[in-house]
Amino acid sequence: MLVLTRKPGERLFIGDDIEITVVSVRGDQVRLGVTAPRSVAICRSELLEQVRQENLAAGRFAAARQATFARAASLSPPPAAQKTPARRARAG
């Protein structure tokens, strides 16, 4: 791993088009600014791990419980949901 020392306000580039700025350092917290092309996904690593664990729990290892749930449960939408049109995802 490449390790660099930077001060607040200083920047570094990854390739030509990803720019990381050290916005501020306060105690044990570092604020970083990232400028990157739209196609680059930026995500905190602990979130990735959290979603990974949740997917594993929701998928293969839950087959028996899924079946129980499917037999036992049905959805009853709240009255408000029937009157209000479903909101849509905002894309782009």
């Binding site: 997917n55 049905s74 939408p77």
Partner: protein, 155 residues
């Protein structure tokens, strides 16, 4: 295409119903092709069945049915990967996790599945928000209809 599944036996999936997860999803990087199978009685609940792994299926729910205010802002990178330019072409599903206690089922509102209904491209999106978590309790929205004769294998 005919596909063997653990829960539903042999199923026939039209080519146009195949959802393509070109990047897999976290924890299941090999997940590539899926289809949605309706739950026979619970409206809004569908199975997301892998077409490559007979044993792998997720329960999904249309989030607005249990969380009426649910709204997502699709990160640019995901909109590009899905080739989504029009929100009307997007379908959003959330994965359900069943814990030991069925009444403690949760929906993952932080990382919904977004589908481009025009191209059938699909991916799991991690939202850039602190409004939603990976575990939102949905049990209070569920009613027990154990005797309603629900059987996912009837399809």
């Amino acid at each position: 295409m005919r596909v063997h599944t653990l829960r539903f036996g042999e199923i026939d999936v039209p080519q146009e119903a195949v959802l393509h997860f070109s990047d897999g999803i976290l924890g299941f990087p090999g997940l590539r092709r899926c289809c949605l199978l309706p739950h026979t009685s619970a409206a809004g609940i569908r199975w997301l069945q892998s077409l490559d792994d007979p044993a792998l299926a997720f329960l999904t729910v249309e989030p607005h049915l249990i969380f009426p205010g649910y709204e997502i802002e699709l990160p640019d990178a995901d909109a590009l990967a899905l080739d989504l330019t029009d929100a009307k072409q997007a379908a959003v599903l959330t994965l359900i996790t069943i814990s030991q206690d069925v009444s403690a089922a949760t929906a993952n509102l932080l990382a919904p599945i977004v589908i481009n209904t025009r191209t059938c491209l699909a991916r799991q999106v991690i939202l850039e928000t602190d409004r939603y978590l990976t575990k939102h309790l949905i049990a209070h929205q569920l009613t027990d209809e154990a005797d309603a004769g629900i059987d996912a294998k009837t399809r």
